[in-house]
Symmetry: C2
Subunit: 264 residues, 2 copies
């Protein structure tokens, strides 16, 4: 299975430019699953909830999801990427999962950072998605800082965690490795590059998107420049949790009563 | 507060040699809290449960704990280190916490690796310990791979996680950083050096003991050689969880019902 990411500099507010950039770039690459950054069509530094509403799209009826569906059909591949979503109740920092057969599902960011809380509504669900026999979960940027979220997805069968991201600090790189190791899953992080400056706030993004194997090995890590990376992985080992350093993950978790009582 | 680790090559089965080594080395250093490796008096590659019984000690009545109590009183400091423990029910891979006033408590390894499961009984408890106003938790090596364990200690107030360790792979370094970041705690890992060869098994240990700040910054990391490292830290910021990248950790965890239902 060929998996990877595309990291690039997003032009704030210019959805059609950003979408075109993705469509044109990906045309040249062969992949089965490709992850795009968080809010990859709009940019990050919204000045108000009203501004989010002005840029947010319905899923799956909005332009972005429709365009991704065309791309996925054309490439016969899966795409995961972050967009601003609107529905009848609110606006969300959401990632869509799209396949050759169309729209598959979405994940709404559950853990919003300080800048995001006034702008977006919080997501509730942690779902996994079946990509023709391979199970993936999606966590958006700060979501990955919460091991509980990734554990839930792992217990639901996720073999690959896809993380569209917009981060500037180095911590998410370590987090991406730890999530892979402790859950025996692949993690794919697509972090944007460039710097946004809006309404007195400056947000530099570090790129350094990465694909991490289930044992923590870095299969690919970008620098701060625009780049596409696709690597071949075998998702099978990530299905078997009976050998985590010789221990059975599920057996080890039995001592945490919280999993017996868990709501989800 | 001056905290650190001592990593060294342990001579299998020679408790008095290993204890003397620690006593002599630490004499030259000034510290408030120092972490020693896992099973630092006995070595790691026991050939049988009987052999563990032959080397295991009562806590706090055994020689090792008594010697550490003398050292801690003399240095007016706290010590955390791993020993083989025996009680009326079984044998455990245990870490003791010792202070200037004597024995404080212990942590029995909860997550045993494949090599350890035939040898030791599993620990049950995850406790925190008060060191004159600073709260610490203890996790032994593979325990740290389970984010749930560190989270429990954090929710009980731990500001510093002390991890006596015996590892050979690189993963525990990433894990130590992630635990610090996601819990906003300091982590101190003391990993032994050298290679043990017994009954056809070879176990190389990588050293690379480290002190990690609550934001993931590496305050100190050793190489593969014997070393003592002591760094000055301020444990206060690790007490306040209301600002984890601008989010309130406890608020964010509220969506995980498992914490509401948790047993411990």
């Amino acid at each position: 299975m060929k998996v990877g990411f595309f990291q690039f500099d997003i032009v704030f507010g210019d959805v059609s430019h950003n979408l075109e950039k993705v469509a044109e770039t990906l045309m040249a690459y062969d992949f089965d699953l490709l992850v795009l950054p968080e809010l990859f069509t709009t940019g990050y530094l919204f000045s108000s909830r009203q501004e989010v509403f002005a840029h947010a799209e319905r899923i799956p009826d909005g332009d972005t999801t429709r365009t991704l569906m065309n791309m996925a059909e054309h490439k016969q591949a899966y795409l995961v990427g972050g967009i601003a979503e609107v529905d009848d109740e609110g606006v969300y920092n959401t990632a869509v999962v799209i396949g050759p057969g169309g729209y598959i599902g979405k994940h709404r960011k559950r853990h919003l950072t300080k800048l995001e809380r006034p702008l977006f509504d919080r997501g509730e669900d942690l779902d996994v998605f079946d990509l023709d026999g391979v199970t993936i979960g999606v966590l958006l940027c700060f979501d990955t800082w919460f091991p509980e979220a990734c554990r839930m997805l792992t217990l639901k069968g996720a073999q690959i965690i896809c993380s569209p991201a917009n981060f500037g600090g180095p911590q998410s790189l370590d987090i991406g490795k730890a999530r892979a190791i402790e859950n025996k899953v692949y993690t794919i992080t697509a972090n944007r590059i460039g710097t946004e400056e809006r309404h007195g706030v400056t947000a530099p993004f570090r790129g350094e998107s990465q694909v991490i194997r289930y044992d923590g090995e870095i299969l690919s890590r970008a620098d701060e420049n625009e780049s596409v990376s696709v690597v071949e992985i075998d998702p099978e080992p990530a299905r078997r949790k009976a050998n985590l350093l010789g221990a059975d993950l599920l057996e080890e978790l039995a001592c945490y009563e919280m999993y017996a009582n868990k709501e989800e």
